[in-house]
Symmetry: C2
Subunit: 202 residues, 2 copies
DNA sequence: ACCTGAACACCGTTCAAGT
DNA sequence: ACCTGAACACCGTTCAAGT
């Protein structure tokens, strides 16, 4: 009987949750959410579609896990700012850039509210908002305002907007088409920070 | 009880885009986004799945059209406030209540950024922000901050959050579980309005 | 012009059979 | 214990055939 050597099995690594999530991220980056199918994924992993279910419960868990992996890396990389405001700005910009590089993450997080990846961000923001001295009754509203703004701004593209029939959008049209997304995003964060500064402390 | 005539089960009205959108809204309200299938829809309309394509290009257009119908009704009902701030608050609360009654609308709008329903809201907000005297360079950031906050807050449910491992979420936990969503939402809007009031005028 | 509904090309998920 | 891959129960969409 002819057998292959131990050194060269079919795959170098066996299937694992991490390898599946990494392959899913690759597929999502390459062709978006509709490019993530279990058939394409299993082909990339050189296995059958059923094998994935030994490590992940299903597609929605896989999408959440992929989004969580991106968020986790981003939060781990952030440098601590000198002030809570600076930390919030750094955190927000880090997420902006991460979701800019992986546009599917916004939708992935939006579909799993109150789950791990979103709670991670909430937690980081919350600690800074506390450090800023926002009174307890206003903390939740402040954090959700920041969180919504970060997640939603970043997930939204305005490129295909045609401002013809709308006076406001029309008047601001040129700025709209030529605007620096990143700067606008930061202006929104600063707007919310200004609101916090104008509110009473605890 | 209404009984069908045995001789003529024929529909009173012929199929139309409006009837299809209304039926889709009914399906979405009853069983969410995954309940909207062309087969269930065509059964409700007493026709075949192919007939729908004579009036609507496909599923994503149908979902956008359903969301747009809700937004259009909501914006049409809003009473004009006495001040721009009051109008913004009324607009935001109207959308809050509409999306609370039709939870699928948030996701529907998020999937069609820069298209008609979102532009409608943008336009209404933009006119009020102009009336408030926000300087031109800050108008876009202000409107998108409001827009993101409204759309995202409303689309997000925090019910299943378990705050055990997260000090911020844990400290605020009781408030979180018992909080009045509507009041919190309004507090966030006021936070952004406060930021606008604290910024320089044009 | 509009409707019908079977057919097509997928999809997520399952599961008996293998190793 | 993990993998295989055919099979199942769907799905959005198309289209020849009807009215």
């Amino acid at each position: 009987m002819v057998k292959k050597s131990h050194a060269s099995p079919r795959r170098e690594d066996s299937l694992s949750r991490d390898r599946i999530v990494d392959a899913a991220i690759g597929l999502l980056d390459a062709s978006g959410e509709e490019g993530l199918t279990f058939r394409a994924l299993s082909e990339r992993l050189a296995t059958g579609p059923g094998a994935i279910y030994n490590h992940i419960a299903g597609k929605s868990e896989l999408l959440t896990a992929a989004g969580d992996a991106i968020v986790e890396r981003t939060l781990a990389q952030r440098a601590a700012g000198t002030t809570p405001q600076a930390t919030i700005r750094a955190l927000a910009l880090g997420l902006f850039d991460a979701i800019d590089a992986h546009p599917w993450v916004g939708a992935a997080l939006a579909r799993a509210p109150g789950q791990l990846p979103v709670v991670r961000i909430l937690e980081c923001l919350g600690q800074q908002v506390r450090a800023l001295g926002v009174r307890e009754a206003a903390q939740w509203a402040t954090v959700t305002a920041l969180l919504s703004y970060i997640l939603d701004s970043v997930a939204t593209t305005w490129a295909q907007l045609d401002p013809r029939d709308f006076p406001f959008a029309c008047g601001i049209g040129a700025q709209l088409r030529a605007h620096d997304d990143r700067a606008d995003f930061l202006a929104g964060i600063d707007l919310i920070l200004a609101g916090m500064a104008a509110s009473p402390r605890r």
